[in-house]
């Protein structure tokens, strides 16, 4: 750990590496005064997997399956953003039907991700019964994903120029049934997250990100929308069939009439987005035109076209956590000359600093989780107090968070 000057009354605690998403595990170094966080420093990159380097040695079709493995939750957004970039370089036109199918899969992924997040957030503050309830709902979303794509997590549905599997009329009843199941449970979820007194105590006024900070630090996704910034690639620059559908930006003032930019607002945004996604899927099923699902079904022919392509392109997509950004440069070679992947958490790391400043140690889990990073690696936490080092692990931190909830409830 880096030596840092701290004043007599403060001490340092490093927390990490946390695994926020993609290849960005992160390490926090906190300067603490008693229980209060005075300053935060963020260090990244404990498990860099060289995905981009590997990709520059593979052909675009192989990269689709590599990109799918960047993140387990956004296993659809990454290959799709890559496909968008490549299609733009090579001038491949996507059939209209495929545009609609792509929306359905994207929104189903959003439902999966947001409900998963809701469960994790509940767990962080000690509501494990809510965790089980939300993940029970998510199970239905995974079943539908399996029904539509053949896989539950890595969906393998993306193809450059379209998608790999069609959704036929006989599949509609299952989709409608699942959407109705979500709608039936939505009111219950809303009541738990937005009306519960303890939830409000832990989340209101906590982890605030102001609108100005969100803009300056280039935050994206629900994190920035909860601070009142209208930024959503689906609407700003509609790709797929999003331009044909009827929906609007989700900011917390839609529900409460005000924007605070706290954890509570981030919960509101995600919950409303689940409802929006259900609506978007239903709109797609109504409006979907007949036609092809992929522009070139023969893979060797497609690869030959891509080998002749030259130029650079970008693919932008609104993933559940924010904008996924892929840049591709092709130079008439088998493999791309350059490939840059930018996951949403990359931009949502710096906003953690103003969010965490002034909060308590026990708030770290819920504030860090409120931007929806993958927390799977939060296992090692060490506290340095006057040069003596002792370790705080994830369980300990979690216990402190739960105790704070209990204190507030008492």
């Amino acid at each position: 750990m880096k030596a840092k000057t701290t004043s007599k009354t403060t001490y340092q605690i490093p927390i990490g590496p946390i695994h926020p998403a993609l290849k960005e595990p992160v390490m926090f170094e906190f300067e603490i005064d008693g229980e209060k966080i005075v300053d935060v420093d963020v260090t990244l990159g404990q498990v860099h997997r060289t995905i981009e380097w590997t990709g520059m040695r593979r052909n675009p079709i192989q990269i689709l399956y590599l990109a799918e493995r960047i993140c387990g939750i956004c296993s659809y957004c990454h290959p799709m953003a890559f496909a968008l970039a490549v299609e733009r370089v090579a001038g491949i036109e996507v059939p209209e039907r495929a545009d609609y199918l792509r929306v359905i899969h994207a929104e189903l992924e959003r439902i999966c991700s947001h409900i998963l997040w809701a469960g994790v957030a509940a767990h962080e503050i000690g509501f494990d019964s809510v965790l089980f309830f939300t993940w029970q709902i998510r199970e239905k979303a995974l079943d539908l994903t399996e029904y539509l794509t053949g896989n539950r997590v890595t969906k393998a549905i993306t193809m450059i120029g379209g998608v790999r599997r069609d959704i036929t009329k006989d599949m509609y009843p299952m989709i409608h049934e699942t959407m109705n199941y979500f709608k039936d449970n939505f009111e219950k979820l809303r009541h738990i997250y937005l009306d519960d007194k303890t939830f409000k105590m832990r989340s209101q006024g906590c982890g605030i990100l102001t609108k100005e900070d969100a803009l300056k630090l280039c935050a994206c996704g629900p994190t920035t929308r909860a601070s009142g910034v209208k930024k959503d690639v689906r609407l700003d620059q509609p790709y797929f069939a999003f331009g044909d559908l009827d929906f609007d930006y989700v900011t917390p003032d839609v529900l409460t009439g005000e924007v605070n930019g706290d954890v509570y607002d981030r919960i509101i945004v995600r919950l409303l987005e689940v409802k929006q996604s259900i609506d978007l899927i239903e709109q797609c099923l109504d409006k979907i035109p007949a036609g092809d699902i992929v522009s070139e079904p023969k893979i060797p022919k497609l690869l030959a076209t891509l080998k002749k392509a030259k130029g650079e392109g970008i693919g932008r997509m609104e993933a559940p956590r924010g904008e996924v950004f892929h840049y591709v440069k092709l130079t008439e070679q088998e493999a791309p000359y350059s490939w840059k992947v930018r996951a949403p958490t990359y931009n949502n790391i710096l906003p953690w600093i103003p969010m965490l400043r002034g909060e308590q140690i026990a708030d770290i889990p819920i504030v860090a989780a409120s931007t929806d990073p993958c927390m799977s690696c939060t296992n090692r936490v060490a506290v340095v107090d006057n040069g003596k080092k002792y370790a705080l692990n994830k369980e300990e931190l979690h216990r402190m968070s739960v105790e704070k909830t209990r204190r507030l409830m008492a």
Binding site: L44, Q237, Y239, G243, I314, S338
Partner: protein, 177 residues
């Protein structure tokens, strides 16, 4: 709020301001969906000497331009960086992506920081330093981000020359356990 310019007007405003320092420009229009709405991507290549002023000029069009990320690649004699901005978000169909390419000679691969204008650029500038071996002048946190501290110095993973990572690569099928 200032008036929104059309893509052609945006390119023109940069050309008027910086004349020959703005090299290639192109406006890409892509269509999506049954309504065939247009997506606009502007690409612009600018000279290194005016790069920071270009970003300042961009900030007169939109107070807080969003910087998605900076891409970069090794072109042999030069290193090229591509700054991916987007402006006019918040109104449906109106957002424009602006990709600004800057060429740095390998003999002197330096560029000025823009973190004083856009604080959110910090991580991507740090990443370009360690991955491409460039130097960002005035960067507030001159440290590695993604590479670990024990990764050898002087090896830059995205370089395609002798400072690249090729010699560190071991193919599993060639290595006996």
């Amino acid at each position: 709020m200032t008036k929104q310019l059309t893509p052609e007007e945006i390119v023109k405003s940069f050309k008027d301001e910086f004349k020959i320092k703005i090299k290639d420009t192109r406006i890409e229009k892509h269509i999506a969906g049954t309504k065939k709405n247009e997506l606009i991507h502007i690409w612009m290549s600018v000279d290194r000497s005016v790069f920071k002023n270009v970003v300042k000029h961009l900030m007169t069009l939109e107070k807080y331009p969003h910087l998605a990320v900076t891409s970069g690649y090794d072109m042999g004699k030069t290193i090229e960086l591509v700054y991916h901005f987007s402006i006019y978000f918040g109104v449906r169909y109106r957002e424009i992506s602006l990709n600004i390419t800057v060429e740095l000679p390998k003999s002197n691969p330096t560029i000025e920081t823009i973190t004083d204008l856009i604080p959110g650029a910090l991580i991507t500038e740090q990443e370009k330093q360690e991955m491409l071996g460039i130097k960002v002048k005035g960067i507030p946190k001159d440290e590695r981000v993604f590479l670990s501290d024990d990764f050898p110095k002087g090896v830059y993973p995205w370089r395609k020359d002798e400072t690249g990572p090729e010699k560190m690569v071991r193919n599993l099928h060639e290595v006996k356990k």
